[in-house]
Symmetry: C2
Subunit: 409 residues, 2 copies
């Protein structure tokens, strides 16, 4: 964390006119850049200024530092880490997480998990119920290739449907009971969940793997003490449900949940066996403002993901129009992206394709200059891009395909 921040400050100091694009200084043509991008051997050949904007950029030093910090924390509390792949949708990142110590990866949807599995990833937990004859057929096919896959259920009919399909295919599915601890999906903790566990235990071709217990309301609760209270309140029924299930003689090895906002809260709750945060690796404006243990800003993890844009119009001295709008940034929050290294500048959406920068101290910004922005909300922003450009300092080290982009099925 510290080394990452130091690197950033040094880099910023070395770039007094960091917004001025270098494109062309070194004289590389687009035809050459295009060839390098197509071949994928960009290491050391391209810099961030060679990339066509809007471009999604990952600062690898910060990303690696974020991952190391989360792995260290979770392992230090003897919990497992199964980061949520819905954040990145990128097999390279999923592999890096496992290499760094994660037990596996989560996927929000079946089609996302299919992409991860097709790229060789194992130990996948699908956090949304697999519903309907066709999707159940796909789930069984996935389980036949990856028997360690975990599927979430929250009702008896779905258990019966999954069991029937698994029986027909002569295999056994691992089920997580999705608990309603967040006011969204899931069965009510306590007796209803225990009854569902008993139903699962009574079926021939499914087995109970544990409890899926995600409390969305906790992740972005502002203020650490508030957040701790909300998350503890949400997770307590999950832990109690697990005990009640085990009192029935049914094994229930896993209790999984948590988020980037609650990792250091949930990791201290007895009975929570693993965490499934996602945003920590990238970070975003949304998490920056939830407040940390010692301040208004949440600085546990560094902002590693930005979108680089170009000023395409300068209608007046105090306004610069950049080439990123609704199609370049997630728009599900009340706030937009935040410009980096551009004091006094504020971004406002200006339609599908444009953003409006209102400038104060940086009125010198010109058409053609580049502006990088911290993304408002990482998951739906990444879902807009086909590739993540990975930077080491200013050098482009790789372009990782967002292979599960759009895989919401």
């Amino acid at each position: 964390m510290m080394s990452s921040r130091r690197h950033f400050l040094l880099a910023a100091a070395a770039m007094p006119a960091a917004v001025r694009a270098d494109t062309g200084r070194r004289g590389m043509s687009w035809a050459e850049v295009e060839k390098i991008l197509a071949r994928g051997d960009m290491k050391g050949r391209l810099t961030r200024d060679d990339l066509p904007t809007p471009a999604l950029l990952l600062d690898l030093d910060r990303f690696e530092s974020n991952v190391a910090k989360m792995v260290g924390h979770v392992k230090g509390r003897n919990r497992a880490l199964r980061p949520h792949g819905k954040t990145h949708k990128c097999p390279e990142i999923a592999r890096y997480l496992v290499k760094s110590g994660a037990v596996g990866n989560c996927a929000a949807k079946l089609s996302e998990a299919e992409v991860f599995a097709a790229h060789g990833l194992a130990n996948l937990l699908i956090t949304t119920a697999v519903v309907g004859k066709h999707k159940i057929e796909r789930a069984v096919r996935l389980a036949s290739r990856r028997p360690d896959t975990l599927f979430s259920v929250d009702n008896a009919q779905n258990v019966a449907d999954l069991n029937a399909a698994a029986r027909a295919a002569r295999l056994k599915l691992n089920l997580m009971i999705d608990l309603n601890v967040g006011g969204r999906t899931g069965i009510t903790p306590g007796d209803p969940a225990v009854a569902l566990a008993a139903l699962i235990a009574a079926q021939s071709n499914v087995r109970l793997a544990g409890l899926q217990s995600y409390a969305g309301q906790a992740s972005h609760t502002v203020g650490f003490d508030n957040r701790r209270r909300v998350s503890r309140d949400a997770m307590a029924p999950a832990v109690e449900t697990r005990r009640a299930v085990e009192r029935k003689g049914i094994e229930c090895p896993l209790v999984t949940g948590g988020s980037t906002g609650t990792y250091n809260i949930d990791s201290e709750i007895d009975g929570v066996t693993e965490l499934q945060p996602g945003s920590f690796m990238f970070m975003d404006v949304d998490y920056n403002i939830i407040g940390g243990r010692d301040g208004d800003r949440y600085t546990d993890f560094a902002n590693a993901l930005t979108v680089r844009t170009t000023v395409v119009s300068k209608p007046n001295d105090s306004t610069a129009i950049v080439d990123g709008g609704f199609k370049a940034f997630a728009t599900d929050r009340k706030f937009g992206p935040e410009p980096v290294r551009l004091p006094g500048a504020a971004y406002a959406f200006a339609g599908d394709e444009h953003g409006r920068l209102t400038l104060k101290e940086s009125a010198a910004l010109q058409v053609g200059d580049r502006v990088e922005l911290i993304i408002p909300h990482c998951d739906p922003t990444v879902n807009l891009y086909d590739r993540i450009y990975c930077l080491r300092g200013d050098a482009v080290e790789a372009a990782w395909p967002v292979a599960a982009r759009g895989m919401s099925q």
Copy 2:
């Protein structure tokens, strides 16, 4: 329009339990569906119930009726139609529009135009300025393949850069002067624009093709009379600028602008030569509520585009959770999608992957049922999907790739 509406009412009447999914009734397996989708010969073989959700659906009868109505209106006023491809990003649709009478298509960005050109489309107008050495290199390459391409400019340096690149490539670029009539990009109409026209006319390798005059503030002004006033006020300086340019002896054949909200306003302004609306072919909640000539709803065009979702959880009688959230619908408006044929139901976003339906009369909705929703805003919604499933009634007739999805560069 009437026949489309009649078709819809008949279809709705024939489907009292339209939300109940048919998947499995006809016994087709996912493996069979997957094969048909991969081969692309789905005509008559698949119905909407066979599609994995969330799925983007286009009602072809309504789409065709929308296009016929717009083409008929614009041609009836002796104007040209160059619909905006940023709405659909789909070469099949761009081709259909030309076949139906459009003179060409607009593209928001260079990379979008490159995709259209690679699919054989001509007469493309790129409505955002092409800025920076690499993009200008790409523009020249595009113009060498499609000499009829129109590029937008709003400042002298960009004109000089384009001219230099065109001269090096020994070709001539067609330039549209982007006028600031909408408070976003563009040069000030009147003298500054006339001076830019003179500069273009004085260069060796660019020629003036016309004025790009898009007034975003007019398109969604609520109430027809208000909208007419706002759009006329916005377009008047464009028409006057054209006259002033021509008084200098510089030809300025095109004045283009307009939107789905202003098509029948701008088509009656003397001097506006062509219209570039996009949303009319699909429609969305955003346009439904701007008000028409004779009422609060804007009914000139029919809602042809929906997203089909599946109920994946039913936490209580009055709540159904569907599998579409921030990654299935555009979130840039204050409102979300609107459920179709589900009286008393209201949708609220419930995160990246889910939506929460609050139910009244339709409490009978069960896990596995399908719910279709009118999209809040069409352009950024289409940009989330890799294909548009085209329906004739309930039959899937085609799956059109959104080939320029993500092409915001």
